[in-house]
Subunit: 296 residues, 2 copies
C-alpha cells in the first residue's frame, strides 16, 4: 500500500508535470529545437524532491499552493538546467539520464548549453512574474536567494570544485563543503523558499535551514552509496563512474558502512530540527528518511 | 580632441571596471579557476555600450548614478556570459575575443560553461541585492525584464535561430527577427532598465523602447559590415567567418551599400524617437551614431 509520503511525492510529481508544461510551450520557429530540448529535459520525470520540499515547507505556514507551486516550478527548471550542463562532454560526459539519452546526445551540445541557459533565466522569469501570487518583497527575496544558490558560492562553485579537485586535495571537510555547494545549496533554497513565502519567524527560518543542511548532505551521501552499489538499470544513468575515475566520494573516504551510519545520523538530526513545527512537518520528516532509503 | 560621447564612453568604461571588480573577488579555494575565468571575461575591456545605455537612459530621469551603475553591472555580466557561451567550440568556435584568447581557450570548456552560468546568476543577485538603491517593485521588474531578454524569446532564442538557420530559411524578415532577439533584446533591456529605474511615463517608455529597437538593429547591421570589411587586428576577433561559412547576414542579403544605407536610416529613426527628451538625450543620440561609426 502506498504510504503518505509516497502519495505526496507522486501527487507532487503529477502536479509539477502539469505546471511545468504550462511554462514550456512548443514553438514552430527556427528556434523550435531549443523549446523541444527544454521540455525534453524538464518533463523527463525526476523525483521532484526539490519541488516537494518547497511545497511542504510552505505548507507549514499555510501558504496557498498556487504560490508555492510557482516557486517549485522555478526550482525544478534550475535543477534541470544544472543536470543538462553537468552531463555535457566537457563536464561529466554522461550519455544517459533517467534512462533516456542526455540532452546533448538527443539533440546536440550547442542546444544543451542553450537549453540550460534558457532554463536558468526562465526560473527567474517565473518568480518575477508571479505578481498575483506574492508581493514584490517576497519575489525579490526569492530571486536573490535563488541566484545565490546557483552561483559561484552555490551549485556552480560546487560543480567547479568537483571538476578540478585532484584527489590529494580532498578530505571529508573539503568534500562536505563541495557537496553543500553542489547539491546542498539548491535543497537549502527549496526549504528557505517555503520560509520566505510563509513569512517565517527567525527561529522557524533557522530550523528549516538546519533541516535542509543535514538533509542535503544525507542526500548526497546516499547518492554516493547508490553510485557505488546501484545498477545502471535501477539508476537510469551510468554508475560506478566516480570509483572508476578514482574520484573521492563520501564512500571512498569513509567506506560504505561508515557512510551509511553518517547519513542515518544526519537524517535523525534533520528530523530533530523540525520539532518546533509539530506533526505538521511529518511529510518533511518522511522526506528526510526517503533521502537515504530511495533506490535511485 | 575627445568629443563628449567618446569621453562619456571612456568614463563609463572606467567606472564599470571599478564597479565590476567589486563583484568579482578572487578566491583561493578549489573553485578559484571559476572566479578567475569570470574576472578574465568581464574585465577584458569591451566597449561597455550596454552599460552606457542604462546609465544615460536613467540619467534622463535623474536617477542617482549609484542606482543605474548597479543595473549596468548586471547587464555587463549577462553580456559577458553570452560571449563566453557563444564562443564555445560547440557554438561559434572562436579562439579570440577582444584580442585575447576566449575563455575556453585560456581555461577550458567546462570552466567556460560554468563561468557563463555563474555570471548569469550573479546578474540577478546584483539586482536583487540592490536594497538600499531601489524599491522591491523596481528590482523585481528589472529582474523579470532581464530574464525575458535572456531567455528563449530573447538572446538565447536568437542564438539558437542563428545556429540552426539553414540559409534557405533566411530572408530579411527572418534575420531581422533573429537579430532583434540575439543582440536587440539585451540592448532594449538596457534602455528599458533606465525607464524602470526612472519611473518613466508610458510615452517615455515607448520612446526609449523604439529608440532601442532601431539602435539594436543598426548596431547589428554595422557588426555584419565590420565582419565583412574589418581586419582581425582591428576587431580583436576572427572576421569574415560568416561569409566563409556561407551564412546569411544583412550584408549577404542586402549587399554592402544597401546595408550601410539601411543602418544609417535606422540611426536617424532612433534619434527621432528621442525628441520628447530634448537636449538631455544628446549622449543617447551620439550613442546611436556611434553604433554605426565604430571601427570594432
Amino acid at each position: 500500500m502506498e504510504d503518505d509520503f509516497s502519495k505526496a511525492l507522486r501527487q507532487t510529481a503529477e502536479l509539477m508535470d502539469r505546471e511545468l508544461r504550462e511554462f514550456l510551450p512548443l514553438n514552430e520557429g527556427l528556434e523550435r529545437q531549443l523549446y523541444e530540448a527544454m521540455r525534453y529535459s524538464v518533463l523527463s520525470g525526476g523525483k521532484r524532491l526539490r519541488a516537494l520540499l518547497v511545497i511542504q515547507a510552505a505548507d507549514l505556514f499555510s501558504v496557498p499552493r498556487l504560490h508555492s507551486t510557482r516557486v517549485a516550478s522555478a526550482i525544478e527548471m534550475v535543477h534541470s538546467y544544472s543536470l543538462i550542463h553537468d552531463d555535457l562532454p566537457c563536464m561529466d560526459d554522461d550519455d544517459l539520464r533517467r534512462g533516456l539519452p542526455t540532452v546533448h546526445r538527443k539533440f546536440d551540445e550547442a542546444t544543451a548549453v542553450l537549453a540550460g541557459d534558457a532554463l536558468q533565466s526562465l526560473a527567474f522569469e517565473i518568480i518575477a512574474n508571479a505578481k498575483t501570487h506574492s508581493s514584490a518583497e517576497v519575489r525579490i527575496k526569492l530571486a536573490g536567494s535563488l541566484a545565490q544558490a546557483i552561483g559561484a558560492r552555490g551549485m556552480v562553485g560546487g560543480q567547479t570544485m568537483d571538476m578540478y579537485a585532484g584527489d590529494d586535495d580532498i578530505d571529508i571537510v573539503t568534500i562536505t563543503r563541495l557537496q553543500q555547494m553542489k547539491t546542498g545549496a539548491l535543497i537549502t533554497f527549496a526549504c528557505e523558499a517555503g520560509a520566505i513565502l510563509g513569512h517565517a519567524s527567525p527561529p522557524q527560518q533557522q530550523a528549516l535551514k538546519a533541516y535542509a543542511h543535514d538533509l542535503g548532505l544525507a542526500f548526497q551521501i546516499a547518492d554516493d552509496i547508490l553510485d557505488a552499489e546501484g545498477s545502471p538499470e535501477e539508476m537510469g544513468k551510468a554508475t560506478g563512474k566516480d570509483a572508476a575515475a578514482g574520484k573521492a566520494t563520501f564512500v571512498s573516504l569513509m567506506g560504505l558502512e561508515e557512510a551509511r551510519i553518517h547519513a542515518a545520523m544526519l537524517v535523525d538530526q534533520a528530523i530533530k530540527h523540525l520539532e518546533i513545527f509539530g506533526p505538521k512537518a511529518d511529510l518533511l520528516r518522511h522526506a528526510a528518511r526517503f533521502a537515504i532509503e530511495r533506490r535511485n
